[in-house]
Amino acid sequence: MSDYVVTMEHITKTFPGVKALDDVQLHLKAGRVMALLGENGAGKSTLMKILSGVYTRDSGDITIFGKKIEGDLNTKQAQALGVAIIHQELNMCQHLTVAANMFLGRELTKGGRLDNAEMNRQAIEQLAKLGIHDLDPDEAVGNLTVGRQQMVEIAKALLINAKVLVMDEPSSSLSNAEITEMFRIVRELKAMGTAIVYISHRLQELHHIVDDVTIMRDGKYITEGEFNSFTMDQIIANMVGHEVKNQFPRETVAKGKKILEVKHLNAGKLVKDVSFDVYEGEVLGFSGLVGAGRTETMRAIFGADPKTSGEILLDGKPLNIHNPGAAIRQGIVLAPEDRKKEGLCTKLSIRDNIALPNLDIITLGSKTGKINKKVENEMIEKGKSSLTIKMADAEDQAASLSGGNQQKVVVAKWLARQSRVIIFDEPTRGIDVAAKVEIYDIINELKKQGVGVVIVSSELPEVMGISDRIIVMCNGKITGEVDPRNTTEEEIMTYATQFGDHAAPASLSLAS
């Protein structure tokens, strides 16, 4: 037993009304990466928050580097013992510099004055240990890509001599190249003897770095073991509690007439002469690296960002879209990338969220703009039953739902009005396997109903598994179109890295 750096046994934690953790165990070894797997709500984050001192356990034993923790563990103690956590939503001060963030709360001073030179020197040194040599410690963190910010967080953790590093969904908002870089750093950390807990919903990427797995479900420990001793199907079955037959249930529907036509669209710096069509009965996928201009293209079509030129035709008729309201009225809707920030008013109720873009329908016929409760209730009921949204009460805050159910509420907003084209931007980011399949089922259902569906996704297996046709973008331009049934990830990535005359970046090894 002594080769474990961290052991957690019989951990129990109850929140008002919910038993979040029930007799859970976890064992970490130095120099190994442990994947902590489970669906949303399985208790992974709660367990990790207990390990890092953010929450206190109700009962159970924690031993860190042979030291048995008596009583409550707080964040300071956990840090002192070498436990650091990198949160899913990065916790950086965007306005401060790289070095200032790394030393935040433990600034170096000389006679009361900040010793910026020394902090910069040590920041460079730490980053160099991770193989990063081209990051300016004086750069404001807000100017860095998400991937770079994550590197800074990791370097910050190393600065406090973290020997146990918890990474909560580190890859969820990184491009493929950045993921490759992150994996390289994880391997460096392993070589230094750091024990790593790796939480991810992207099961396809695990085999690159993971040594062991622990699987949880509904707040309970299910199993653990060496990663290689499980098949992917076994892992999924353990997470979900039953077998998932098909991770990407694509249904083939006869391709119908052209619904949406985008001609020579230009907007901002990342949408250059983009033209494409969407047909009835198909799901059109958009692939590319992060920053390729996919989201920007969709926002321009939806009227969320201004266009400089180009035409958009729906059912052959040119549209005039200057703001999202106009797009919604004319039948084009967008389920945005960031659910919590752009998709939902999280503090409002589920009811209010579904009603918000449909108030024109709900107040129809009333001169004073009075809300017709009957119409509203029907709308909510329809959304709830057709999308199987799991909720206690439509009056609950949208924030109280799990990620998958939040995404369903976003979809329900748009189902209430006969929309012609629904654009999904990263529809399954941070959603667990079972909920993902439910979202895919909804997409398939829309496709069968003759709605034009566009999905933007950075996950290659997803975009290849669910689309009928894939358009690849790079640097604001469309660089290729492929049929997902006979293409490879390599082919897509070739298009995704066609930066034009300037040589493409060095070869990208991919998560496959």
């Binding site: 840090q79 306005h95 401060l96 433990r106 004055r113």
Partner: protein, 332 residues
């Protein structure tokens, strides 16, 4: 990656400050052309002195804004400072003792603001609205709802008036020098100490700061206490100038503070801005008042013009930033 050496203008916040100073120069040239008296020695000297209260409340409000909060009690604390000191002096108390008592009262308000906002998590707008109202009430109460009479002459009272208003060395009034020293101290705190770094950090991302071990309550309280100290000083200057305590002293000064800070490039959303800019911001405000008066613009018209110019200044800065950095989603 780009060059390690970065241009002066590309440093965060510097461009806004430069814009504000350019604004100061442009305004001065305009008023000079409208009325040559504007640049006469006497006018420039009193102009510099009239900047002082705006600069002080701008420093206080600016620092609180950088933490991502706001301090609505500034004007009332200023009024309280003027009324308490004047009342005590009129009642025969030793000037130094009166000022010390006044200081303690004002700092206590700052501390209370810190407790309300930093510890009990009241929205800063509401919490300081409460202290603002209470402090104005205290300013009215201390002399039984009357302005004080003249604080009188002689001894320490003369020294007091000279130090804060009338006395000068060469072309500079002492009050201006005192304000610049206060500014320099807080500039140092904000730019070169861990406390300053924490003030920026909690304004940028309070959760990240807390998880990094920053004491959010302490940092918030420090910012509000600095603000109260600045209001206290501005109150003394106002009282020294008038030679008496007025219950109306400092009315709306919390908003003048916002204007000086924002024109100087400090974001009301927190996390960014440089204290250098407040000098320009306060100058713009004072120059407009002074220049428009010299140009014989009636008070009502002055207010309208100043309001438009403030909006134009900030609008220009936003457009410039969007032009330079690109209109993409800035982390607000």
């Amino acid at each position: 990656m780009e060059n390690r050496k970065r241009g002066f203008l590309s440093k965060p916040g510097v461009a806004s400050v430069v814009t504000a100073f350019v604004g100061v120069i442009v305004l001065m040239v305009i008023f000079w052309m409208m009325n040559p008296n504007f640049v006469r020695q006497n006018n420039l000297m009193s102009l510099a002195r009239s900047i002082c209260p705006y600069l002080l409340v701008g420093i206080g409000q600016g620092i609180v804004c950088i933490t991502g909060n706001i301090d609505l009690s500034i004007g009332s604390v200023l009024g309280m400072s003027a009324m308490i000191s004047a009342t005590l002096i009129c009642n025969g108390m030793n000037v130094i003792l009166a000022i010390l008592i006044d200081l303690v009262a004002c700092l206590f308000v700052g501390y209370a603001n810190g407790v309300l906002v930093g510890k009990f998590k009241l929205p800063p707008f509401i919490g300081t609205l409460g202290t603002m109202t209470i402090c104005r009430g205290i300013a009215q109460l201390v002399n039984n709802n009357y302005n004080t009479g003249d604080i009188g002459m002689g001894g320490l009272k003369d020294l007091f008036r000279d130090t804060f208003y009338y006395g000068r060395i060469g072309y500079l009034y002492y009050g201006v020098i005192i304000c610049l020293i206060i500014w320099a101290i807080f500039y140092y705190v904000m730019s070169y100490t861990a406390t300053g770094r924490h003030i920026y950090a909690i304004g940028s991302n309070v959760d990240a700061a807390r998880l990094s071990g920053v004491d959010v309550f302490k940092t918030t309280t420090v910012a509000y206490t600095i603000s109260a100290f600045c209001s206290f000083m501005a109150g003394l200057i106002t009282m020294a100038a008038a030679g008496m305590g007025s219950m109306q002293a400092g009315m709306s000064y919390e908003m003048y503070g916002v204007a000086a800070a924002v024109i100087g490039g400090i974001s009301t959303l927190g996390g960014s801005g440089l204290l250098v800019g407040v000098i320009a911001g306060a100058s713009v405000w004072a120059i407009l008042q002074n220049g428009l008066t010299l140009a014989n613009v009636p008070v009502a018209m002055r207010n309208i013009i100043i309001g438009f110019i403030v909006v134009a200044c900030v609008l220009f800065d936003i457009m410039r930033r969007n032009g330079v950095i690109g209109a993409k989603k800035k982390a607000a």
